[in-house]
């Protein structure tokens, strides 16, 4: 607190004397998002929901998943249950609703991207180019963070493999 007063004092001091050596690095979140935008690839005319990107892993806790060739049916059953409880308010399986449908999702997205979108939607819509475009495509309706465990999100992914 003492520090902050000193800073205020210092600031007044600079204002009044105008010495001009008070330039500080700005640390605003807007600047950050601008720098992310610079890395965004040129905008495509194809809607984000139909765009295919099988390289981006998105932003979030999941950096790498290997999917076994065989689908784990126990996991699918659990994933379907979680999906129906936590996701169907906004995502119908095979038609656009509040958000896009998950049908055929693994033909368009990496498994990591899908799990990061489930587990980390706030940062995804701020930092991931595809997620940002999706937010705009779906009228600014934000993907709700339903706080699934990684295990549950992985099961939902397995369920998506069957759609």
């Amino acid at each position: 607190m003492k520090k902050s007063l000193l800073i205020i004092t210092g600031f007044c001091f600079m204002l009044f004397l105008g010495c001009g050596d008070g330039e500080k690095k700005k640390d605003s979140p807007y600047e950050k998002s601008t720098s992310v935008e610079q890395t965004t690839p040129a905008k495509s005319k194809v809607p984000a929901s139909e765009r295919i990107d099988l390289t981006s892993k998105g932003v979030g806790p999941i950096s790498s998943i290997t999917l076994p060739s065989e689908i784990d049916q126990t996991m699918v059953a659990h994933g379907k249950d979680v999906y129906e409880k936590m996701c169907t308010a906004c995502h119908k399986v095979d038609k656009k609703f509040i958000g896009p449908p998950p049908v055929g999702l693994l033909e368009r997205r990496t498994p990591e991207w899908i799990m990061n979108m489930i587990l980390n939607p706030e940062e995804m819509v701020q930092q991931d180019p595809l997620a940002k475009d999706l937010l705009m495509e779906f009228n600014g309706a934000p993907m709700a963070n339903q706080h699934l465990s990684e295990e549950d999100a992985r099961a939902v992914l397995e369920y998506f493999r069957t759609l």
């Binding site: 007063l5 001091f13 600014g140």
Partner: protein, 653 residues
């Protein structure tokens, strides 16, 4: 404010005067003015947290407010005894049962003395209890959800004022009656009060796991007024002390008639002895009627049960359990120091502050040094139990708290000040004015074995010119003091809601990490929940129509409903499907004669609507939930009573 402004202006002037472009030393130097700046001590930077919670009673608001110290910022109003349209408490079907009593549904009360649960005499931060004064009740508020979980009515009581203080392992929360009344209530002349009215002191056991309350016994004391109370602690654990006034037993013009006796009493109750007596079948079950209301976190629903009998104990039947300590002039606060040795009687019409000694009391009891009795209860001799007096410390003492460093702090209403004095030597160490006319004061943990003696705040009864004027009626004012030094230092004024009578405060780290962020949908056991979209439906049951509705950013499901008729009673059962922190949704229905609902993530709440007019009527979300919040709305079509339009519901079709 003025001080801060003046300091800032002074600093700027000094800096302009003494610095040049090459001289940046001064801005780094610490001046004396800065080091002692009071503003720094209460400044909590944006985004930072206060160090303490304060739970301040709302008095005639019936509720409990949550503040931060040292900033004096209010965080929340917790509805307890009063309906709260802000979130639908006491209006929603789930919460209405909490306000049921033997007198029927009561929408209001006067909440007085919050007390935080303790383990081994230390604040454990599990629950906070508070008393409803007017229609005698005790409430328990969870310190994980910060919601009222339970309210129990206290029969045979009236003006539930010497409440709700808890024993040092939260064995009991204690509720004493201020007004003595006929027990059981009956039609009789008021003038026959003396000798016929009783004062019930109620010991309510607290389940150590869930906190559930149950009346263990009531002691039917002589018909005095039982004003305030506190448990013994440490060496005096097992005893409870109550101040009394109107030992004259007057029923009219108490202002004069209850101030005649030179001394009233502090009643010392050996509750462990009475507990043992009761456990062995002592006392008798008396027919009565009182409500016990419990809110279940899993079903999100409260239920009200009427209880039909209570165990009462007549002091005459258990000699040696209760004694009376003469205490000058209508004592108000009854406060026990952290060691449990000293019992302070704040005689509000007395020139001196009386302090009794627990050790001397036990000694006098053992030697049977009695000075008569009152209705069979032995009276001890004043001189035999007196530890000491603080001589003429101020006018109109009310309440005392302790800092754990051997000092006591007493409020004086008439002379409008807080006086710091030393336990044992009884010397006055410091005094500071309050603005104006202080009632209670609080030190975090100040009525436990281990006070946190950094801050003290005074809750003042009169505000007058302390803030910008707001007409004849204004909020009360609290004042925070730093008591870490030899002298008390006034830090800040802050307005309080309703009329605070006492507050309980606690270091934030004891409870803040237990605060719940959401209710888990998977744990929702509400019988009419809608936890998946597939469960949404509308069901007719005669004239009752149940709407199972889900809410998530940013729509209701369903949002179009047809087939409702004039004369129907529509129950909107809303479940918030969000599982993220701080995403409540609201629900408001045009023309609803109750309130809105605010539904926390994972919670289910029900609002009842009785449509009276044909038409298509909108509802909407009241809590700005997302960029598409304004789109979160729906319609209900209401047809004539004889219409044959079938129920239908939809979303997006």
């Amino acid at each position: 404010m003025k001080n801060i402004l003046q300091t800032t202006i002074a600093l700027v002037v000094i800096l302009i005067g003494f610095t040049s472009c090459n001289n940046s030393e001064n801005s780094k130097g610490k001046s004396g003015a800065l080091a002692s700046n009071v503003a720094e001590k209460v400044y909590v930077a944006p985004g930072e947290h206060d160090s303490h919670y304060a739970f301040i009673s709302g008095g005639y608001s019936g509720n409990l407010t949550v503040y931060g110290l040292p900033s004096g910022r209010m965080f929340k109003e917790i509805p307890v005894f009063s309906q709260f349209p802000t979130n639908g408490y006491g209006y929603s079907e789930e919460t209405k049962p909490l306000l049921e009593t033997s007198y029927g549904f009561i929408p209001w009360d006067d909440s007085h003395h919050p007390d935080i649960s303790q383990t081994n005499g230390k604040l454990d931060g599990r629950w906070v209890f508070i008393n409803g004064n007017n229609t005698p009740r005790i409430a328990r508020i969870s310190l994980t959800t910060f919601e009222t979980e339970e309210i129990i009515e206290v029969p045979n009581s009236a003006g539930n004022h010497s409440s709700s203080f808890i024993t040092e392992n939260t064995e009991y929360v204690v509720a004493g009656t201020r007004f003595s009344v006929p027990v059981p209530q009956r039609d009789m002349p008021i003038k026959d009060y003396k000798g016929n009215f009783k004062g019930a002191l109620t010991f309510i056991s607290v389940d150590p796991e869930h906190g559930h309350m149950d009346i263990k016994f009531q002691i039917l004391m002589p018909g005095f007024n039982y004003d305030l109370s506190h448990p013994g602690r440490g060496k005096s654990h097992g005893w409870f002390f109550f101040t009394t006034y109107n030992t004259e037993e007057a029923s009219s013009l108490l202002e004069v008639n209850a101030s005649q006796n030179d001394k009233d009493f502090i009643a010392a109750i050996n509750w462990k002895k009475i507990e043992e007596y009761v456990n062995n079948g002592g006392g008798r079950m008396m027919p009565t009627n009182y409500a016990h209301n419990v809110h279940d976190e899993a079903t999100h629903t409260a239920t009200s049960t009427m209880k039909k009998e209570v165990r009462v104990v007549d002091p005459a039947d258990i000699p040696g359990a209760i004694y009376l300590l003469p205490t000058p002039k209508s004592p108000h606060g009854c406060d026990v120091d952290p060691s449990g040795e000293y019992i302070v009687g704040n005689g509000k019409l007395s020139a001196n502050l009386t302090v009794h000694s627990f050790t001397k009391m036990l000694d006098a009891i053992e030697k049977k040094k009695f000075d008569g009795d009152a209705y069979g209860i032995p009276i001890l001799k004043f001189e035999d139990v007196l530890a000491g007096s603080v001589e003429q410390p101020g006018l109109g003492p009310l309440h005392t708290e302790f800092d754990g460093k051997g000092n006591a702090y007493t409020t004086f209403f008439i002379s409008s000040e807080v006086v710091k004095w030393k336990l044992g030597t009884w010397e006055v160490l410091d005094r500071k004015p309050t603005y104006y006319s202080v009632g209670h004061l609080t030190i975090p943990g100040g009525n436990s074995r281990e006070p946190f003696g950094k801050y003290m705040f005074a809750m003042n009864k009169i505000t007058k010119d302390r803030y910008l004027p707001t007409g004849p009626e204004m909020e009360h004012s609290a004042q925070l003091y730093d008591i870490s030094g030899d002298k008390m230092e006034l830090l800040i004024d802050f307005p309080t809601h309703g009329e605070p009578h006492y507050a309980a405060a606690i270091p934030a780290e004891i409870i803040k990490n237990n605060s719940k962020k959401i209710y888990r949908l998977a744990e929702n056991k509400h019988p009419r929940k809608t936890t998946t979209d597939a469960e949404t439906k509308v069901v007719r049951d005669g004239k009752n129509v149940h709407v199972y509705m889900a809410m998530i950013r940013s729509h209701f499901s369903p949002d179009n409903i047809e087939g409702i008729k004039v004369g129907d009673k529509v129950f909107f059962h809303l479940t918030n499907l969000e599982q993220d922190f701080d995403v409540p949704h609201g629900f408001a229905m045009i023309g609803a004669n109750n309130a809105e609902l605010l539904v926390a993530p994972g919670q289910t709440r029900t609002l009842t609507w009785e449509p009276k007019q044909v038409g298509v009527w909108p509802f909407y979300c009241t809590d700005f939930c997302s960029a598409l919040h304004q789109e979160m709305q729906g319609y209900v079509r209401v047809s004539p009573a004889d219409s044959n339009i079938q129920l239908s519901w939809s979303l997006g079709d």
